[in-house]
């Protein structure tokens, strides 16, 4: 009775079934060409590998489902379930339901789409589109009318500001973008804008006028590209050109620029030049690394005694200068020089446990406008004066 009912239901639902036991031996089938008492895995290859999942199936558990299996030019879904037989034996049933005609149509369409997609993906057209998309990701495009009102924007722009296009269109261009001083030529500008995270981004902008048939400009298209990284490189290069890599101090370019600015503004300021004594011999005797360490050491010593608004500069080699900011009194400066002298005596460079290098230097103090007229001969004259002081020091020993 049960078997007849099962066969009837399966026929109605276009389903085949195989009943098998825990040893995977087939005990009952409907319309499939499989011999009884054989291993189901010889016929139903899907079962290989999932034996453990089948054996541990329980009646309360959801059945094992493997959809869309293609075999002998037809598709079916496999469903494996368990039940207890009339004799109390745990048995398993594998249903194979034929897929409907609708599924075949679906498969045919998907195959066609995949085929076309594959042809497209390996074509030059895809490469070009990809390049275009890559370029477009970094370029914002606006249409701006003659009053500067934005009339059209692309997706990149919308992403950049995290705004819907409608919230950008209708606003004045200057609401979002600020012109930088530098205009490269008539139609090329540098703009900056803050993105939705508040980060300041620099753009290179090309403005392309659109004209009507009578050659009258009716609208401008503005194409802008993020050049923040170029600005960053420029900043780093500027920085590198004005700072010394060993000590991290401003260098000679910075020094001359600063002094020129002070002179132009007629500030009264003082300079203290410092030149390490016998630096050449220190390098010779202890090695150039020790020399470098001594330069770093003196940098630390000087920076520890001067005010934060005074500037220590490494002019070159072992030749340093302190730029004392405007209106620092002679008394203050002398006190600093004295403090530095004491500090250098009490803090020799301990290069190694056995290698201690005493720090001696010669200094020269100059004031503007009394001793300094301009920067032209300043460094040459300062060096000459320091050399003379060093010779005098030797003579008086």
């Amino acid at each position: 009775m049960h078997e007849n009912l099962l066969n009837l239901l399966c026929k109605k639902n276009n389903t085949s079934y195989i009943i098998f036991n825990q040893n995977f031996i087939v005990s009952q089938v409907n319309n499939i060409l499989i011999e009884l008492n054989t291993d189901i895995r010889d016929f139903l290859w899907e079962i290989v590998g999932i034996e453990e999942n089948i054996i541990t199936l329980s009646m309360t558990q959801e059945s094992i489902k493997i959809p869309m299996i293609f075999r002998n030019n037809s598709y079916y879904d496999l469903d494996i379930d368990t039940f207890i037989s009339e004799t109390g034996e745990k048995l398993y049933i594998a249903y194979m339901q034929q897929k409907s005609q609708q599924t075949y149509k679906y498969a045919k369409v998907i195959k066609e789409i995949n085929k076309k997609t594959l042809i497209y993906e390996t074509s030059n057209e895809k490469k070009h589109t990809t390049y275009y998309q890559q370029i477009n990701k970094h370029m914002m495009t606006f249409h701006v009318d003659l009053d500067g009102i934005i009339t059209t924007v692309n997706d990149t722009c919308s992403h950049f500001f995290n705004l819907e296009k409608n919230n950008i269109i209708g606003k004045h261009f200057s609401y979002f973008f600020h012109t930088q001083e530098s205009q490269l030529n008539e139609n090329t500008h540098i703009f900056n804008a803050k993105d939705f995270m508040g980060k300041n981004i620099f753009f290179h902008a090309n403005i392309i006028p659109l004209t009507d048939t009578k050659d009258r400009v009716i609208e401008n298209i503005i194409i802008i590209q993020d050049i923040t990284y170029l600005k960053q490189i420029q900043k780093e290069l500027d920085n590198a050109s004005q700072y010394d890599t060993l000590t991290g101090l401003p260098n000679r370019h910075y020094f001359l620029k600063k002094v020129d600015t002070y002179i132009a503004k007629e500030f009264s300021f003082s300079l203290c030049f410092i030149d390490i004594d016998n630096f050449y011999y220190i390098n010779e005797e202890h090695g150039s690394h020790a020399g470098d360490m001594l330069l770093k050491h003196i940098t630390l010593l000087i920076n520890s005694v001067i005010d934060s608004d005074d500037i220590l500069v490494r002019i070159y080699g072992d030749f340093f200068a302190i730029i004392f900011s405007e209106n620092k009194s002679r008394v203050y400066i002398q006190a600093i020089i004295e403090k530095l002298k004491e500090s250098s005596l009490s803090h020799p460079l301990k290069y190694t446990a056995d290698d201690i290098i005493n720090l001696k230097y010669t200094s020269l103090l100059l004031d503007y406008p009394n001793d300094i007229k301009n920067t032209k001969e300043l460094l040459t004259n300062a060096q000459k004066s320091i050399k003379k002081i060093k010779i005098d020091k030797k003579l008086t020993r």
Binding site: V48, E51, I66, P67, N114, T117, L118
Partner: protein
């Protein structure tokens, strides 16, 4: 006889079906017929009955169906040397395989080596080093049969080693 299951995974159009066809039937068809669902082939490799599952490839709109990977003893991840995206996706396929069958060994097949491509041989090692599950990375050609046999045999050896432990 020992029986086990392996699954070929990868993006659509990478050549999974062609590799199986070359290995099982020693044939090749230039025409691309994408696999929908799963098709299972059987091949005896050195006294083992191997069920080779050829599953529908991953597409932008359709992920790989995890149920197909159940019970596999090893995987072959197939990528198309002519499509960079399919090589980039290798990582995701390995992740998926390891999610379903933890620690199962993998071979990577970079298929269509008979066509001009830009992937240098030194990059194979970089791919291999990307996961300790990878036992071999091979440039294969289902068209002329290059490294196809080697691909399946290497995986077979590793699976048998694992099963005998």
């Amino acid at each position: 006889m020992l029986s086990y299951k392996i699954v070929l995974v990868g993006n659509f159009g990478a050549g999974k079906t062609s590799l199986i066809r070359r290995f099982v039937e020693n044939s090749f068809s230039q025409e691309y017929l994408s696999t929908i669902g799963v098709s299972i082939s059987k091949k005896t490799i050195k006294n083992a009955r191997v069920m080779i599952w050829d599953i529908e490839g991953h597409t932008e709109f359709k992920p790989i169906f995890k149920q197909y990977l159940l019970g596999a003893k090893g995987f072959i991840v197939v990528a198309d040397l002519l499509r960079q995206e399919s090589i980039i996706d290798i990582h995701n396929h390995i992740k998926l395989c390891n999610e379903v069958i933890k620690g199962a060994p993998l071979c990577i097949a970079l298929n269509k080596s008979d066509m001009p491509h830009t992937l240098e041989d030194k990059e194979l090692q970089i791919i291999k080093n990307s996961s300790e599950l990878i036992i071999e990375v091979l440039k294969t050609s289902a068209k002329n049969g290059d490294a196809v046999e080697e691909l399946f045999l290497k995986l077979d050896k590793k699976i048998k080693d694992n099963m005998s432990k």
